[in-house]
């Protein structure tokens, strides 16, 4: 049992996976910040829709925000914002990776706690991925840190991590939990069980209708039912299938199709991209090697990859 525990949580894995999650998350945080910038004062400032006089943290909670500790001026808010941007860029580049990851997490928490009225599920997932990222081996590859450490040295196994991947395992569990929990909550709803839930979703006019979708699919009883139940299938079955080695790639492909099709049809800001960033934690060395092989075949360019 202890051996199994150690194998699962602590056996080193491929160093590229944490690097991909780091780069993916930092990119998404930067996009999020870019979208925030024009309305910074409106959402977080003293002359915005939630000034400090109004309780912005739940009563009796232990939540905190650095923004409560700085002067309530537009300049101070701008300074905080640009420090956040700078540290996210450092995380993206892998410069002082661990410190940058801690700082980005603290800023994410601070901005999210300052105004919870504008949060959605994606923000919670983003915050938790940032939390797990702190404990991942971030500086081993594809980072300025790695470049500085290995300058002039060659490595036999450049993609083999030397650190315990327990935080990546935690992220895997978290992603599965999000999927399965929402599936269970849905299963308790009558419209999900009787197959009409997507009838409503397709008619919510602030979310649905990003790009063109055939109306037939959402006007016809059997297609609506099939799609509604397929959502339940993905959310209730894939969280189990993904742990089975032979079903892992299939599960990841289903999840990719699920998130991209939802992204096509609905306006959910960065939700599906944040989820896909989290699902990266389930990739393995052989997947990346396979992608590299396909890439080499398509482009004729060689990719430095260990094929064994």
């Amino acid at each position: 049992m202890i051996a199994a525990w150690n194998r699962f949580f602590h056996q080193p894995a491929d160093a590229r996976i944490p690097a991909m999650i780091r780069i993916g998350l930092a990119s998404l945080v930067l996009i999020n910040l870019t979208a925030h910038y024009p309305n910074l004062e409106k959402w977080f400032g003293e002359s915005g829709v939630l000034p400090q006089g109004l309780p912005h943290l739940p009563e009796g909670s232990w939540q905190w925000t650095l923004l409560d500790g700085v002067p309530q001026t537009p300049l101070a808010l701008q300074v905080c914002f640009w420090i956040f941007v700078l540290q996210t860029v450092c995380l993206l580049l892998g410069l002082a990776s661990r410190c940058s990851a801690v700082a980005v997490f603290i800023w994410i928490v601070s901005f999210q706690h300052r105004n919870q009225l504008i949060l959605d599920g994606e923000d919670k997932v983003m915050r938790l991925i940032a939390f797990f990222l702190i404990f991942m081996p971030l500086a081993e590859i594809w980072s300025v840190d790695a470049w500085l450490l290995r300058r002039g040295k060659s490595q036999a196994e450049p993609y083999q991590s030397q650190a315990s991947p327990w935080a990546q395992r935690m992220l895997q569990y978290f992603m599965v939990l999000v999927m399965f929990a929402t599936g269970l909550w849905k299963f308790a709803g009558e419209s999900w069980r009787d197959g009409t839930a997507l009838y409503y979703v397709a008619r919510i006019d602030d979310l649905f209708g990003r790009f063109w979708v055939p109306h037939y699919f959402f006007d016809t009883r059997w297609t609506v039912r099939a799609m509604t139940w397929s959502v339940l299938y993905v959310e209730l079955v894939i969280p189990f299938l993904i742990w089975i080695p032979r079903a892992r790639r299939f599960s990841l492909l289903v999840l990719l199709a699920f998130h991209l099709s939802n992204e096509w049809a609905m306006h959910l800001f960065l939700f599906h991209w944040v989820m896909l960033c989290g699902w990266l934690s389930f990739l393995k060395r052989e997947d990346l090697d396979a992608v590299a092989r396909v890439w080499r075949k398509l482009t004729g360019r060689s990719v430095p990859v260990r094929l064994s």
Partner: protein, 234 residues
């Protein structure tokens, strides 16, 4: 427990402690209480006895799960790892579309009509940029939600809009009142009303005043001074 070679004892103990503490807490926060989640098992039996609505009312949060949540929430709040339940279009998706309209009156007689975005008319890019506005409008709530916390939010929004829309910095141009009206359209239950085509527009024919914010008279200022241009709302 013997740590693997790639990790120190301290790191190993810390990692295992985080795993052992955080995994159950994340699960507890995100999952529905067990009795609630599996209530559909009881559905046929209960439906035979009583009406669906009455059965819905019987669903109570699990007291044990609630108590554990109360005990552990300080840790989750302080570490920034709180999540709450994962309700994404669950247990039922929204069945209303709503918009907000604000009628703003200034003391010089100027009237401004402000509307929350008309989502289907916006481009993809605009909708992407305004995603936070969408969450905010949703958080303000629909017609039915008139809790004191929500009224406080409406009041601050009134101040914000009055400041934004004010063009006359003189005391005479100060805001007088902001009236918020929520327009709501209900997506009819297809099992009851029949399946409506997706292209059919749902008229927002249910509209109600959720709040009127009246501003007091601005303080008198000496004749050689004016109020700041950005100000207005007290």
């Amino acid at each position: 427990m013997k740590p693997p070679l790639t990790i120190t004892w301290l790191q190993y103990a810390f990692a295992n402690a985080v795993v052992v503490v955080l995994l159950p807490l994340l699960t507890l926060q995100g999952m529905p209480p067990i009795d609630w989640a599996w209530s559909w098992f009881q559905w046929p039996k209960a439906a035979a006895k009583e009406e669906e609505e009455e059965f819905e009312q019987e669903r109570e949060p699990n007291p044990v799960a609630g108590q554990i949540y109360v005990w552990t929430s300080p840790l989750l709040d302080a570490t920034g790892t709180w999540t709450g339940p994962w309700l994404m279009f669950a247990p039922e998706p929204d069945s209303t579309n709503h918009r907000i309209r604000a009628e703003i009156e200034f003391r010089d007689g100027r009237q401004v009509l402000w509307r929350s975005p008309e989502w289907p008319e916006l481009s993809c890019w605009r909708r992407f940029c305004l995603s936070r506005d969408l969450e905010y409008v949703d958080a303000l709530g629909g017609i039915a939600d008139r809790s004191p916390e929500k009224l406080a939010l409406w009041s601050v929004l009134a101040d914000y809009l009055a400041r934004e829309q004010r063009t006359n910095p003189e005391p005479a141009g100060a805001p007088q009142s902001v009236r918020f009206i929520v327009e709501e359209a209900t997506i009819a239950n297809p099992r009851v009303e029949g399946w409506q085509p997706m292209s059919q527009l749902y008229p927002r024919d249910d509209e109600r005043v959720v709040m009127t914010r009246t501003f007091p008279l601005p303080p008198k200022v000496p004749s050689n001074k004016t109020l700041p241009a950005s100000g207005g709302a007290p």
